[in-house]
């Protein structure tokens, strides 16, 4: 008798859990579905009252209109190059510094690591005006270099990889050292290959945030050909204030590369970003 009612309440709570999760899924997915559906409608149909759900006729030209008004080829390339160089810099410099801070003894270590912590705790906007002036002074505005510039070093990357190196037993490094490796070889050949998971996490984290960043690309590259997907999209917003099918097509094109990567590497994305959690 008692176990039957327990059983019933257990089934009940399971049903409620699924119901809540499915409701949540609908809320999370709906904007994306609506984006796709709208991107295939004609403008008059998109404004129909009451609205139609499925497009009466598929208007693929919305995508070519979006491509015609925004140089998507350039935007993809600029974004890809920015992400690539930021990731490479973050991994190379942060691995070296993270290893040194975790495993090597040198004078001034505490003070230098303090600089890393200070940078991490300040909002990036506090650096933007002087960073912009530096780029402008170098005559490098409207270049890929300008997009990469604030991401050349990653204080967060140093902090994060230092944690990883701290977790690797020092004995491993000492063994390599006794085998005749110097400090660089110990780092490069023995220790660095052990940090794969963390390096992947840092890669994903750096890429996702560089991809979504809006203020810096808007400030530093005003030339449409040199914008990123994010900042380019911001200009589209003004151009087509009422043509939502074209806006939706443009937005879809802008977010597609990262979404595809995400769907392929879901676990790495979620666990990677979660492990960097807090930033």
């Amino acid at each position: 008798m008692k176990s039957a009612s327990l059983e019933r309440s257990r089934t009940m709570s399971k049903v409620l859990t699924y119901a809540a999760l499915i409701l949540g899924t609908v809320i999370m997915i709906f904007p994306f579905v609506w984006m796709i559906l709208t991107s295939l409608k004609s403008v008059p149909e998109s404004m129909k009252i009451p609205p139609t759900i499925f497009p009466a006729e598929l208007i693929v030209s919305n995508f070519s209109d979006a491509v015609a008004s925004l140089p998507f080829g350039h935007l993809y390339l600029n974004t890809a190059l920015m992400v690539f160089f930021r990731v490479v810099c973050a991994i190379a410099f942060s691995s070296m510094a993270g290893y040194a801070f975790a495993k090597l003894q040198f004078r001034g270590k505490g003070l230098l690591f303090g600089i890393v912590l200070v940078q991490m705790s300040l909002p990036s906007q506090i650096f933007i005006i002087p960073q912009y002036q530096m780029v402008a002074k170098m005559g490098m505005a409207n270049t890929v270099f300008a997009l990469v510039f604030p991401g050349i070093v990653s204080a967060f990357g140093v902090f994060f990889l230092r944690q990883t190196y701290l977790g690797i037993p020092t004995e491993i490094g000492e063994a390599a050292y006794l085998d005749g490796c110097n400090q660089w070889q110990t780092f490069y050949k023995v220790m660095f290959p052990l940090t794969g998971t963390s390096v992947a996490a840092l890669t994903i984290f750096t890429a996702v945030f560089a991809y979504g960043d809006l203020m810096w690309p808007l400030v530093v590259n005003s030339d449409l050909q040199m914008m990123t997907l994010s900042s380019g999209l911001a200009t589209l917003r003004g151009q087509f204030s009422t043509n939502f099918p074209v806006l939706m097509a443009g937005s879809l094109l802008a977010m597609l590369p990262m979404v595809i990567l995400y769907l392929i590497f879901q676990r790495q994305f979620i666990e990677g970003i979660a492990s960097t959690g807090g930033k």
Partner: protein, 299 residues
Amino acid sequence: MNKGAMTKLSAAARREENWGWIMVAPTIIGLLVLNLWPFVQTLYTSFCEHLGFGHYRFIGLQNYINMFQNAEFWRATWNTIYFCILTVPLGLFLSLLVAMLLNAKIKGKGFFRTVFFLPMVCAPAAVTMVWRWIFNAEYGILNQLLGTHINWITDSKVVMITCAIVAIWSNIGYDAVLLLAGLQNISKSYYEAANIDGASKTTQFFQITLPMVSPTLFVVMIMRLMSSVKVYDLIYMMVEDTNPAVTSVQSLMYLFYRSSFVAGDRGYGSAIVIWTVLLIGVVTIFQFIGQKKWVNYDV
């Protein structure tokens, strides 16, 4: 360590020290040039008038005086705080709820997790675009479904709530994944013991789950608060600066962007950003004082 070893490092130790310096050099030089020096410059610039082309004249506290006398500035400060009030508690509550649902024994956990996390990888510029369309007053699907005529984006009383909805939707999956990790660290034996004692689910939540997850919740809350104080991209994409409702929704960072890069008043812009840093500092201090009341580090 004796005195001789202190003053005269062995050859090996000296090599190690050199490697240490070499390996941190790119990072430290980068941080000095890209961050530390700019920070000092921003601080100095906030006491200057921008004469154009990167030339400045020292004017003392004038930017701050102008700022504190400016209604738009106070409105932006309030907007930022209001945005945090609207998004952080409700967002955390919903994220914890999602995390608990995902922590239950269910099928398709991976699928649900992927779905909730999806907005995280989409550029804010792209997702806010579809929300603008959903919230469109005349043709947007939301007004049609509700049968209302709310000006979600242009009504100065509503627009902040609209932005808060989008912000919560965007961040819920990320926060839920972090909280889920915290929930999974709670040992099952607590719940088994509670079940034997006949404790209700509600009691279990308040006596076990909440205290045990509170350190994670605290970290997520700090992180969410920090990024909410700095909110910019979402509001910028939802409400362009020609929208009449912009003053009712612009955050401090939006005002910073407009002052520094649209109006070109970089001294004033720097003062705003310094003010924001102070605000973040105050909020953080209050959080760390307040945590003693509810965060449980005993276990």
